[in-house]
Amino acid sequence: MTVVRTSLRNFVAHKGRMVLSAIAVMLSVAFVSGTLVFTDTMNTTFDKLFASTSSDVTVTAERNEDAQQTGKPASIPADTAQRLEKLDGVASAQSDVYDERITLVDDRNENLSPTTGAPTIAGDWGPEEKKSMKLISGKAPRGPTEVVVDADTADKHGLAAGDAVKVISFTGTTEARISGIAKFTATNPGAALVFFDRPTAQKKLLGSTDQVTAVMLTAAEGTSDAQLKKAVAAELGGGYQVRTAKEAADSAADEVGEFLDFMRYALLGFAGISVLVGIFLIVNTFSMLVAQRTRELGLMRAIGAGRGQVNRSVLIEALLLGVVGSVLGIAAGVGIAVGLMQLMGTVGMNLDTSDLTIKASTPLVGLLLGIVVTVLAAYLPARRAGKVSPMAALRDAGTPADGRTGTVRTVFGLLLTAAGAAGLWLATRAETAGDGSGLLALGIVFSLIGFVVIGPLLAGLVVRAISAVVLRFFGPVGRMAERNALRNPRRTGATAAALMIGLALVAALSVVGSSMVASANDQLDKTVGADFIIASDVGQPLTPAVAKAVHAAPHLAHVTDYKNVNAELTAPDGKKEKTRLAAADPTYAQDLRTETDAGELSAAYGRDAMSVPAAYAKKHGIEVGDRVAVAFTGGKTARLTVAAITTDGTSLDQGAMYLAIATVERYLPADEMPANVLMFAQAEEGKAEQAYAALKERMKDYPQYQIRDQADYKQTLQDQIGQLLNMVYGLLALAIIVAVLGVVNTLALSVVERTREIGLLRAIGLSRRQLRRMIRLESVVIALFGAGLGLGLGMAWGAASQQLLALEGLGVLDIPWPTIITVFLGSALVGLVAALVPAFRAGRMNVLGAIATE
């Protein structure tokens, strides 16, 4: 018990010194538990939504994942409901009409659909809809020109009854007026909804009043959903999909779940990085506390405490820190989750805080994580505490300098670094991306650990170099700052390593990101011949009306349709593979001049010809002239001649198998022909501007599609990658914040540790300003050291990745120097900020008190 009591008292006595460590634990735990709570809440929200919108049994047209994406909504005969109503066990059968690929625009052609990726759904204002929505103003839609829109969309765009809107479906555009506004009774996770009356919905969405999208069945008393499903399936026969409420909800949840899982693991990954960074901070804190308490620990040993007891006393302190940090972190995590929910609200996804889901496992995970990490991090310092000899109590105080880096450590670190470097180098030499990625991962891990281990050694070299450049302008104050930073290389190394990790990732990703942009631009310049690209940013197929409008535009030399066609390939070696072919007009060979390893690309657009990528050709031993059996889904099987083998060294359309649309038409019935996913156009010589203007004019009515010339396209690409990088940087900011806390922590504890020294300096005439400058400079040096290592390491990772990905078309290495230099200089600023409080406190120290300190 005594051990516990001593630990408790120490913990309380040093709580000021524990604050930053506790914050680090708290932040990491908060991020983890926040992620868990947030994603669990999202799951709850969607589960509720799906549960509220699904009937006991739902009948729809058979949905096959391999089916061709014709763009036309699937439907079933309108009399299905009447047929099923008569079945035993059916209490009621309701038809429903809806389509999810709708664009809603106002009368000025401004897009009203969500831009978050959530769907816009049009349907009929029928009994099924009324189950989960209610009219809050106006009246139900009646006739071909009236619609009801959902309240969230109406609020967001200031729509009211009487306003004109256009509903663009795959089959055409419907102009209508809003007759009323309806509100979801459950949480609307961001979809826009628009409702017609039944006949209008059938006609506009499905093309015929004889069709409906689904029939919703309610089971009679005493009939289970499964029984009903069986009966319905027997009655209807093939061509229908019959699902129970549970199956429907599960499949919907699966789709969303995949995305949510991805989000969860990505966020947890970033949380993991900050946990890693936090470990350095905790190790430093306990090392410094143990060093400062050497005499005290020696006394404990002198009066008979065993090594284990001293060791345990430190670990118990760590345990307390872990508990305090984790508990605070879990609470803060809930706050983060609520904050994220609010944030989702601003992008159109309204989550209800009443759905806030805190699973029992969340606090458990948080506590476990916080405690395990803290105790593990404190283990080495605790062991060192146990090794303090009783003689330490008798020696004069003064913190024992950590001394030189051990030889073992140096050798070990150098070996790891060398292994890491070798891994990176070999990765750049790899034959295939698959082989190389393993080497790359190993290289990254080893070089990172290697750098952490030789950090103290590097501290000596790098800090001296930085000092030679920066600190010599600051005279003796600079010299003292340098010596202080070098005084305990292990501590400086660990503090800087924390910063290094975050910045290495930033540097690596920015190198890869800007190489991606540069490579794509390079490819665009070299291979893209098309002047204009027409596509939907949210992946909607191009409707026939749009295709027609583009084809009819003036000043165009040619227009290329581009479709994805699902098929199963049988290579000459007999291996089957389901794939998606790129069917295009022959002019596509001019629009995208993909290089070939063998054959002529234009030949691939000939009758019953195709191209395969080099990887596929290699895998199956295919040469030009070989034949591949292509079974078009929903059509016949063709035997196509391989006319070209395309290179893998391209980032655009990589791995695509090309063939002519004309070839597809021979084997696929017209109603199975997929819709265009992309269109390309080439302007007539010297008419680029007019053509662009004409295309834009024609596309005005379809704001869901974007038309871009090459410059726009490059900009879009750059923006997309830039956005992605910004998001990643934002998430890495957490790790960097923890690292900065580490710098603050080290400085604050150093200031405490050097109280006497500071007193002496002040006594012999160092002014407050000089003292503060000394601490600031030390901080800047540590920050620059960490940044230098991190950026260097990160650039090496990034360059190695690029070399490896060159196999996949990432041919151009582009190091974003402005970013790198900004980050490096920014880290100096971070150093200054980190030193603010420690420097202020050092300046305020009472000189006499400081000298008299033990």
Binding site: G398, M480, E757, L761, I764, L766, R768, V847, L848
Partner: protein, 252 residues
């Protein structure tokens, strides 16, 4: 006068619990002389030195360093004053562990941005006999050598006055005698003014003058002391003989 105090009061606390560390002390420190301040623990000897040196503030009264009145000076001015006009030797922890001996010696001048006077620096270094130790870090020096570096630092900047707070308190008698010898010589040969707080009669015997403090007042002022006389006086002042226990080393 190198320094003087007039009606200096240093009080802690208020009302019932008010403690007078210095109770209307008047003292003059003569230029070019070696003055020792003695007294039992809690007599206020260290407080007096700290106040004279501008390290501590006084409750009332006036302290002058040379012609400058330092009571009421702001921290910035006081810092400058300590830097440019005062030297310090503390009992322990006099040196910055990160700087070598020479850097420690020139530190006050470096901080002030002044160039050391090289011939003078050489003379000081030779006087304290550290020529071959200049590149060593404090941890590589013995306790006596460390204190000699501290003495050299105090001397090197040619301050108007050097204050020593038990400068030999942590040394064995031989090293202590060495350091005290240097202090004595710097007064005799270099004309330095030194004020030293000590409770060791042997150390006090190196001084030209010994001031005795008890309960915050100056109770005696002895010229040309010897160790025997100092010890005698201490015994008589303490009255109950406890001084005999508090004076380590005693007579040898």
């Amino acid at each position: 006068m190198a320094a003087s105090a007039r009606k200096v009061v240093k009080a802690y606390g208020a009302g019932e619990t008010r403690v007078m560390a210095l109770d209307e002390v008047d003292v003059d420190i003569e230029r070019g002389r070696f003055t020792a301040i003695m007294g039992p623990s809690g007599s206020g000897k260290s407080t007096l030195m700290h106040c004279l040196a501008g390290l501590d503030t006084v409750t009332s009264g006036e302290i002058r360093l040379g012609d400058t009145e330092i009571t009421g000076l702001k921290d910035k001015k006081l810092t400058q004053l300590r830097r440019d006009r005062v030297g310090f030797i503390f009992q322990a922890f006099n040196l910055l562990p990160t700087l070598n001996a020479l850097e420690n010696i020139t530190l006050p001048m470096d901080i002030a941005g002044r160039k050391p006077d090289q011939p003078w620096l050489d003379r000081v270094v030779d006087t304290v006999g550290l020529r071959d130790r200049l590149r060593h870090r404090p941890t590589e020096l013995s306790g006596g050598q460390q204190q000699r570096v501290a003495v050299a630092r105090a001397l090197a900047a040619r301050p108007e006055i050097i204050f020593g707070d038990e400068p030999t308190g942590n040394l064995d008698s031989r090293a202590g005698a060495e350091v005290l010898g240097f202090l004595r010589r710097s007064v005799d040969e270099l004309g330095q003014t030194i004020v030293m707080v000590t409770h060791d009669p042997v150390a006090a015997a190196y001084a030209d003058r010994v001031l005795y403090l008890a309960d915050g007042r100056i109770v005696d002022d002895m010229r040309d002391p010897t160790a025997e006389r100092v010890l005698e006086r201490m015994l008589s002042l303490s009255g109950d003989g406890t001084a005999a226990h508090t004076a380590p080393g005693g007579l040898r």
